[in-house]
C-alpha cells in the first residue's frame, strides 16, 4: 500500500530560483532565506520519499488565458522546465509517475473532483523552486514528482475547503494504490504578498504565523477563511495559500510539526515553510497504519464512493461543502 508520510509547504518565489541560478545564495540577503532550508534538505534526505506530489500553480507558462483549469494533474512521464522568458531554468527535467498519477486521477474523479488530466506540460518556477529548496541542486531530482497545478491566477481559485477536501481524496487514492510507496506531498506558494497594483508589497506576518499555526494544529479553521479575507489580509496574490490546504488535507488530522521557518522578504513576498509528519501507528503486525479519522470528520469528506452512500453524498451537492466562504 502506498502511503503519505509527510507534507511540506513552501513559498515558490521566482527570485529564489534566480538567486540559485545566478549563484547568489551566499549573499547576505539570500543567505537569510536559504539558511532556513538547510534543515529541510537534511530532513528530505532522511525521509527519502519514493514520490513527491507537488501542488503548485503555473504562472502563465504552461497555461495562458486560453485555458484555465482549476485542478490539473500531471500524468506525463516527463515535465521539462518552462522557458519563462529568460530561457528554461538550468534544473533537471521533472520525471513524473504516470501510473500513480493516473490512479489518483481516476480515484478522485470518482470522488467527484473533476480534474483536468495533463499529458504534456512544462513546469515553471512554481514547481522547480520548491524542489530546489527541498532537494538542493542535484543533477537529477532524486524521485519522481507528480505535479498538481491549481488555478490561483484568475479569480476565483478553488476555496480553501475544496482544496482541503481534494487533499483528503488524494490521500484515499494514494492509500488504495497497491505498490508500497512512501509519498511526500508539497504545497507551494504564499505566504502573504501582493505583487499587483498600488498596494503591492503588502505583507502580513501576523496572518502568516497564524496560518502556519493553523496548518499544524487546526487546519479545519483555515478551510473557513474566505477568499475576501485572504486577499484583504494576505494580499491579492497571497490567496495562493489555498494550495497548502491540499497538502494538509492529504495528511492525517493529527500531525507532528517537525520544522518551520519564516522570513520577510524574498523580493516581494513573505517566505513561509513548514514540515508536518504523519504519526505512524504500529499495528499488531508491526506495520504502520494510518491514523483514523473521527466519524464526524469523515462525514464531510468527499468520499462519495458509489458503494458507500452517505447523507453527505446525496442531493448532488458535489464533493465540497463551502463553509463560511462568501465570494
Amino acid at each position: 500500500m502506498a502511503r503519505i508520510i509527510a507534507g511540506v509547504s513552501s513559498s515558490h518565489v521566482p527570485a529564489i530560483g534566480a538567486a540559485i541560478d545566478l549563484k547568489k545564495t551566499e549573499e547576505p540577503y539570500w543567505k537569510r532565506v536559504f539558511s532556513g532550508f538547510e534543515k529541510s534538505k537534511e530532513w528530505m534526505a532522511n525521509a527519502k520519499p519514493d514520490i513527491v506530489i507537488a501542488v503548485y500553480n503555473d504562472h502563465a507558462s504552461a497555461f495562458s488565458v486560453e485555458l484555465i483549469p482549476t485542478f490539473a494533474l500531471g500524468c506525463a512521464a516527463e515535465f521539462p522546465p518552462a522557458d519563462e522568458g529568460w530561457g528554461p531554468r538550468p534544473v533537471p527535467g521533472v520525471k513524473g509517475h504516470p501510473a500513480l498519477a493516473s490512479h489518483i486521477a481516476q480515484s478522485v474523479i470518482l470522488d467527484e473532483f473533476d480534474l483536468t488530466i495533463v499529458n504534456k506540460m512544462e513546469v515553471d518556477h512554481g514547481l522547480t523552486v520548491p524542489l530546489n529548496l527541498m532537494f538542493g541542486s542535484p543533477a537529477q531530482w532524486p524521485c519522481p514528482v507528480i505535479p498538481l497545478a491549481v488555478n490561483v491566477v484568475m479569480y476565483p481559485p478553488p476555496t480553501g475547503h475544496r482544496c482541503y477536501m481534494l487533499g483528503r481524496a488524494i490521500r484515499k487514492a494514494v492509500r488504495s494504490y497497491p505498490e508500497d510507496l512512501r509519498v511526500v506531498v508539497m504545497g507551494t506558494g504564499g505566504m502573504s504578498h501582493q505583487i499587483s497594483g498600488p498596494r503591492a508589497g503588502l505583507i502580513n506576518s501576523k496572518f502568516d504565523k497564524a496560518y502556519l499555526d493553523g496548518l499544524s494544529r487546526d487546519p479545519k479553521k483555515l478551510t473557513r477563511i474566505s477568499h475576501m479575507e485572504f486577499m484583504r489580509e494576505a494580499g491579492a496574490e497571497g490567496i495562493e495559500m489555498v494550495m497548502w490546504l491540499i497538502m494538509r488535507g492529504a495528511l492525517d488530522d493529527k500531525v507532528k510539526e517537525v520544522y518551520r521557518f519564516y522570513t520577510v522578504p524574498a523580493s516581494n513576498t513573505a517566505v513561509g515553510h513548514i514540515i508536518l509528519e504523519n504519526i505512524e501507528r504500529k499495528t499488531k503486525a508491526g506495520r504502520p497504519a494510518p491514523v483514523r479519522q473521527s466519524p464526524s470528520k469523515g462525514r464531510r469528506a468527499a468520499a462519495h464512493a458509489p458503494s458507500l452512500p452517505s447523507p453527505a453524498s446525496g442531493g448532488g451537492r458535489g464533493g465540497g461543502l463551502v463553509v463560511g466562504s462568501k465570494r
Binding site: G197, P265, S267
Partner: protein
C-alpha cells in the same frame, strides 16, 4: 456604462484598496492584453515588438485604451483593463526590468524605496484593508468610499481580527 461595469462596481473585493482583482470579467476584457504579453515569451516576437511597438500591437485586437496603456507602460491601467500581473510582467521583462522594478512602478515608489520598504517588513496591512468604513475607521483619507454601504457585504472574519482592526486600523498607506 455597460451592465458588466455596473456589476463590477458592486463587487465586494473592489473595497480592497490599490487592488485590481483579475476575475472573470477582467479576464474576458483583457484577453488580448494577456495574449499579447504571452507572445513575448518568444524571442522573435520580442524582437519584432521592440522594432516597432505600434505595428506589433496591430496583431492583437486591443481597444485604444489598452494600446495606450501598453505603449505608455502604465501597469496599473493595464491591470484595470484586464491585464494580469503574471502576464504583464512579461512585458516588463522584455523591457529588461526586474519584477521588483515593475512592482515599485505600480506603487508609485522608486525601486530603491520599494526595496527598502520590503526589507523593513513590507507594506503594513493596517490601514490597507479596506476603502470602506467597515474595515478601517472613516478617517478623512478613506471617507470617500464610506458612503458606499458595504455593511452587508462584509467578510466573515474572526472576531479577534475584527476587533483588532477596529482598534488598530490607521491610515498608514505606503
Amino acid at each position: 456604462m455597460t451592465a458588466a461595469k455596473a456589476n463590477a462596481s458592486e463587487k465586494e473585493y473592489d473595497d480592497i484598496p490599490g487592488t485590481f482583482v483579475f476575475d472573470a470579467d477582467r479576464s474576458r476584457q483583457g484577453y488580448h492584453i494577456n495574449m499579447f504579453c504571452m507572445s513575448l515569451m518568444k524571442a522573435e516576437n520580442r524582437k519584432a515588438f521592440k522594432e516597432n511597438e505600434a505595428s506589433y500591437l496591430d496583431r492583437f485586437a486591443l481597444t485604444p485604451e489598452q494600446r495606450k496603456a501598453i505603449l505608455k507602460r502604465d501597469y496599473n491601467r493595464m491591470l484595470e483593463l484586464g491585464g494580469n500581473i503574471y502576464f504583464t510582467a512579461k512585458l516588463g521583462a522584455t523591457d529588461g526590468h526586474s519584477f521588483q522594478h515593475i512592482a515599485a512602478v505600480m506603487t508609485g515608489a522608486t525601486q530603491e524605496d520599494y526595496a527598502k520598504m520590503m526589507l523593513a517588513g513590507g507594506r503594513s496591512v493596517e490601514g490597507n484593508r479596506s476603502k470602506s468604513a467597515r474595515h478601517a475607521p472613516a478617517k478623512p483619507a478613506t471617507r470617500k468610499a464610506a458612503g458606499k454601504s458595504t455593511a452587508k457585504a462584509g467578510v466573515k472574519s474572526s472576531p479577534r481580527s475584527a476587533a483588532k482592526r477596529a482598534k488598530k486600523a490607521g491610515s498608514k498607506r505606503g
